[in-house]
Symmetry: C6
Subunit: 267 residues, 6 copies
């Protein structure tokens, strides 16, 4: 994915850059596989800064973020965690799926996200002021929010929020061609298949297929799988929690891929 991809889909690249210039933290929201992680990687390249990625999860403690004491040579030595390393290095620190983290772990971010831009390492007895270059970016998928896991308003209000969504069909097909090296007609059929399923979403109540699964299917086709095989294994089967493909979904896919009866042109 190139810079244009983001320019085309909205103002997120510009607003991200403006927030960065003003030393404001950014929150990215949007569905699975819509490109949140790629945007952060893209901005790291564009702004010339390293990106430190932290995948959030239920068990992530504040010690995992800021560091802890570790026994070395019989002694106990403080070792910076990835957040502290990112602050000191003036990097972009990216907290992926921040809504998954325990809220108490996020408390250490408060002083980093307001006018203080400071990290308090209570246990190490150290106070780290973030350099100008440091930037904090978080992301989450609103489709997973639950009453137990919702971010607190006081946390959300600390960020410039940039909502993201899927690419329009033409751009999505271009991305698939660029990523997997298959022909445009096959890519367009895959996008048509995905669009049909996304439209049927309300009836089926599943997380719609992302650009990522289309790229995966395209890779499988490039390796010799038929389009229907690839769509079943990469697009349809992951939709349901039992890995099986219902007859209705198979019909939707088969109809979308109808032109693919002809020999696979990608091999």
């Amino acid at each position: 994915m190139t810079e244009q991809t983001y320019l085309a889909n909205g103002n997120e690249v510009r607003l991200f850059e403006q927030a960065c210039r003003q030393r404001l933290p950014v929150m990215l929201t949007g569905p699975t596989g819509c490109g949140k992680t790629r945007l952060v990687e893209h901005m790291g390249l564009l702004l010339g800064r390293p990106v430190v990625t932290i995948s959030c999860h239920d068990d992530l403690t504040s010690s995992d973020l800021v560091g802890r004491f570790i026994v070395t040579g019989g002694d106990v030595v403080w070792t910076d965690g990835p957040l502290t390393r990112a602050v000191k290095a003036g990097a972009i620190c990216y907290l992926d799926e921040v809504v998954e983290a325990r809220h108490d772990s996020l408390a250490v971010l408060h002083s980093l996200t307001d006018h203080r831009r400071t990290l308090y390492l209570d246990r190490a007895g150290e106070v780290v002021r973030a350099p100008e270059e440091f930037m904090l970016v978080c992301s989450y998928n609103p489709a997973y929010r639950s009453s137990l896991k919702e971010l607190k308003p006081s946390f959300r209000q600390r960020f410039v929020t940039l909502p993201m969504c899927y690419l329009p069909p033409d751009r999505e097909a271009e991305v698939i061609v660029a990523e997997a090296g298959i022909g445009l007609p096959t890519a367009q059929r895959l996008v048509r298949c995905a669009t049909a399923i996304r439209t049927a979403d309300e009836a089926f109540h599943f997380e719609p297929p992302s650009t990522r699964v289309l790229v995966t299917a395209a890779h499988l086709i490039a390796a010799g799988a038929s389009e229907l095989e690839a769509a079943e294994a990469c697009v349809l089967a992951p939709l349901s929690s039992d890995g099986g493909v219902s007859e209705g979904l198979r019909e939707v896919a088969a109809a979308s891929l109808a032109d693919a009866d002809s020999p696979n042109p990608n091999r």
Copy 2:
């Protein structure tokens, strides 16, 4: 923010100073971003005392507050926590969002908040009497209270309680201008936008936008974003838990910012 800000909004600066003189602990209450942390920083400067801030969270143990034994050089050495350090230094110890802390962690505060003004370090076998200068300040946001998390009356009754609220519109606009360096008309439009949303609060049931988000939006405008872009990213999107902006909110914002059709005067 300067001292006048607090003088203007009520008697909190004077009462804080009187409580300090009588060596009484203070409890600040009020909504997100109304200036509780800033008041404590302000009082620290005014009274010439260092401020030790502790962000409370579910996992904060009493050991995190008072200290613990740490292995050093093969030996186990007692290391004071931030509360103990604050007591010994005669500092203002500020427990931010104290309602988030586990109640059992707060038990160590009891002997500090009554006539004893003493910290019992049971594990270290040490008794620390607070010097005259020491002051304990706690804060919480009543909007987050729940039956599980409510502070016990016996805890609340140990403090001089100072309720805080948002600034009046004129003062709020002044603060935005001072903080973000944008023009007064833009600041006033942002305050008008926030006031419209705060008024619509009861219908929408969300945490109203704080002064903080207006300052953030102003910073983004100062970096070149349009007023509507900034309002959407900093004021509207954080209101909902999915980061999206509803059509109704966008209309409210657009109407408040109507005068902003003219070229951005801040660039």
Copy 3:
């Protein structure tokens, strides 16, 4: 507070002394701030014994009470906890808010509270018989009892139980004058205000204001606050969990403090 305070309010000082003479443990019950902790301190002075105070909480383990092995100089050494220290020293050991403790932590008290008067340190392999001077005192606030936290009857039956309550108005005003050094009329108005709220208790369903908050308010008045300001910050605001003061409560307070319109005589 002096000895007379307790003599006047009931037979608790005499019964406490008699229980002590017979080596029986004592349980103090009563509302927040009615003087339980002060009675124990008073009895310590009267009986010429040191008082070891332990604030109970959810996380207090039996190791916190009796002691644990600690690594020192590469070795593991047993270190007595405050309960064991109190037993060995023949002190009065005071377990404040014992109902908050985990019941399993309290099991170590059983052999101390019956005819054995013995502490079994299973992990240290030590058996400590309490000297004649040792006395165990517990307290709790019955207003906080819940089905989850109720003390077991078999535990309660091990103690001489002394219920305590607030002082009568005249004595309470005397205490306030003695503690905070304000004039008697102001103290009487504060007591009148507290009595009005305590009477309205059933309608409002809150923990009534204790003598402690009146003393705090008196201190604030002594520092220059008006009586209404002090009553709002110290008596009324802590009543509700959001720190705000309702109009009804403010009227009750204003009526009680009516005579205070005249200039503050304490400054």
Copy 4:
């Protein structure tokens, strides 16, 4: 309490001795303070064996029972727990309130309570066969049983079960006189008071007062308290979870103690 006490109240002393001779474990059941612990102490004297008492609670781990590795001098050394020590010493091991223990902790007892009479120390890699003299005794108060805490039938079926109950009034008064050294008429009035309350049990739904609280009250009377004061502090107040004494209970007590209007003959 002497041997006759148990001989008089049933066949428990003889059956205990017979179970001991056949190397069978014994389970004592009965209400608070009916003498379970004293029976075990009595049998220890009678049989000439030491008694190792373990108070069961929610947090008692199997390591607490059998032992654990402890770091000493830089090395890790296995240290026997009280159960293992009791087995090796051929003692009577008494698990007080066994129903409070975690069921998984009790699993280590299985091989001790069937024909194997063996303790498997899996972590130490040691197998300890109990000598002839070893005996396991458990007790619990059925009044506390709950679905969560009930002993499993397969556990109960491993024991000779001896149900115990309170003494008849005459014997109970004798015990009080012997324990506290007060006059028989006072002891009889205390027993009458307890009997009245025990009879009213179904109406009040509380754990009835045990012989223990009567002995405690007698001690307080011996120290100079009036009979009503002692009954209130030791018999009535522990009945309710708030430590207060209801008017109805006070009337029951006053009526039972009516003869005590005359001067206290114990001083």
Copy 5:
């Protein structure tokens, strides 16, 4: 108990031996005290292999089964757990009451119970292939199954399952005579008493008395207790969770033991 006991009660000894010859794991099911543990001990003798018994419980971790790193002489050394020791020794490893174990602890058994017959010690970085002689045997009591604790079908399908039940009355009486050395008529009366209670099971809803409790009662009779005393203490009292014996049960027992009015012939 001898080999014939098992031959008589079904085909379990032969099937156990056949499973062992084919290196298949065995699952024993059946009520409390029906002889599961004894069968395993019997097969160990018959097949000439050592038996390693592990009592399962809620807190049994996979480390408790396979081993862990232990600090020795300043270093960390891997120490095999009982399962690993049993595998390496080619023993019969017997997991008693496997349904009590945490399911995650059982995951380490998967590779031992299929064609791999291999134990993966992930933490030690070791792969242990079981010798021909190794055999895994598990047992559980289906009467305790609950939705929370049921073994997963995929786990149950890994075993040859051998259901076991109580002996017929004549054999049961023989076992009692052989175990406790009492006369046959007394043994027969005890069995008659147990059979009466087992038949009344549906009305009373308790775990029926096992052969084990009859043997225990016989032991007590051998020590001089009357038959009714022994039946009450060993058979009836353990049936109910309060250790008491209802009138109805006592009548059932008294009727079954009616012939015992004559002097006890066992003394």
Copy 6:
């Protein structure tokens, strides 16, 4: 089981190989004992790569997967976990029953399953890029899915999903003959028995018997057990959670095995 088995039952061997060539992770779904583990072993042989198997369970931490610091010689040394070892070795890493794992443990897989193919060892401060040969394979049994344990769509969408099912009867009998060395007629009767039960599935609501249990039964027959004995112990008894066999199931089995009245031809 040989390669042909998989070729015959679908396209899973080819798609697995194509996904491997494109460096895409694979998810296998299907019922207990349908051959998921065997397919992975088969592909390891076919592709000439080692297979590292990790059995997932509730307590599997991310440290168990990626590694942890271990004390050696007084120092703390990082030790790779099986996932990290598999990545570095370019192996096939097989996470068996991945749905059982804690979701937070799975977060470390995210960066391995997208275009990054990278493992971030935050605690070791190391970034491991997977070599071309590395492949991640997961499996789960959809029959066990529950709302608590369902894999997140964003996780499922990262894999090429290959649903698997039981073999057709003829092939299944061939497998049984090949595995257990019994005659074909016996194998066919066992398959007929299994098919009858699988068909009755909806009425009985149990996990249907897998090929694995048929192979186990065949092994027992090969050791001399009758067909009905083997079917009862290996096929029927594991179906119900109490290990007992209902009369209805026994009739189904007896009817299917009817031809087996003749002497067992396998001995």
